[in-house]
């Protein structure tokens, strides 16, 4: 029903009283919001609670959404602020990520050779080893289709600071790959 509609058209429908149309916006962006929350909390329950809160806040203040930015940028900004507020109030239930443990987990699924070789799994595992800020900046740039300037708005940074942080995040990702997954990379390349 809403497949061909852009975000603004759906927002207009919601503002005119069609609450059900909001579900389409949730379906479009739930992955982004949930991933951002999960990068910081590292706990699915907390991340889902935050993501739900983000969409409720977005719905309530939808009339305040100025159309000079993308809806996704606005939503990611709410997600970032809500996550940070949550982390200030509640002690996160995450387990500290020990790189060696993660590496062991990664190599542990070597029972299935095709899985072991999967670049997708490797990349997503290494992202988990990065700090929340590094993982988020990479996710926003490569998956949430946000420009450097938009990431700056979301994270409260200047465009230059985002460029530097993104570059450093990529370097750290490369370091982790070389440090923990050198053999896997060799296998993938061969």
């Amino acid at each position: 029903m809403h497949a061909g509609m852009d975000d603004i058209e759906i927002i207009n429908q919601v503002l005119q009283g069609d609450q059900q149309s909001f579900e389409e916006l949730i379906k479009r962006y739930q992955h982004f919001v949930f991933t951002i929350a999960l990068r910081y909390t590292r706990n699915r329950e907390d991340a889902e609670e935050i993501a739900q809160d983000v969409f409720v806040k977005a719905y309530r203040s939808l009339a305040d959404f100025r159309r000079d930015a993308k809806f996704s940028t606005w939503l990611c900004t709410i997600a970032m602020n809500t996550t940070k507020t949550f982390l200030r109030k509640v002690k996160p239930r995450m387990d500290p990520l020990d790189p060696a443990t993660v590496h062991a987990q990664h190599t542990g699924y070597g029972a299935n050779p095709t899985e072991k070789r999967s670049t997708q799994l490797l990349v997503n595992h290494v992202i988990g080893l990065l700090s929340a800020d590094d993982a988020t900046i990479i996710t926003l740039f490569y998956k949430a289709e946000q420009s450097i300037e938009e990431i700056g708005v979301i994270m409260g940074l200047t465009a230059n600071a985002v460029k530097v942080k993104l570059h450093r995040a990529r370097l750290r990702l490369k370091e982790k790959l070389e440090l923990y997954f050198a053999d896997e990379i060799k296998e993938i390349l061969n």
Binding site: F22, I26, K27, Q30, Q52, R60, S61, Q120, K143, R170
Partner: protein, 126 residues
Amino acid sequence: MEKRFDIEKHLRDDLELIPPSPDFSKKVMGAIAGTRIAPASRSYLNKKVVYGTALFFLLLIAAAVVYALPSLNWYTAGKFRLPVNVIKLDIGQYFNRKTVNCLLFLNVLLGLMFLDKYFIRRGRAV
């Protein structure tokens, strides 16, 4: 030629977003079922009132400056002296028992206010 692991390419192609639980959108729709969209802040924030308040304070500051300027004695500018002799300053004269008590009382008051805020925040978080 040695092959290289192209991080840029793999991040674009292989990085995945993590999905929430399958019934997530239903849960959110349930949560917003009883809520209403708040009116846009631009509809109730009257810009004239905001600008009027700013103008009032600017006028107030300007009036204070205009009043103070003519009463300044510009000729003594080069012979400025502090009202107290800092070298021979008797701290005990100002930092006496009464002042210490006042400062202590102020600190206790600030401490209580801080504690109150802390407990309110903790209550909300729980």
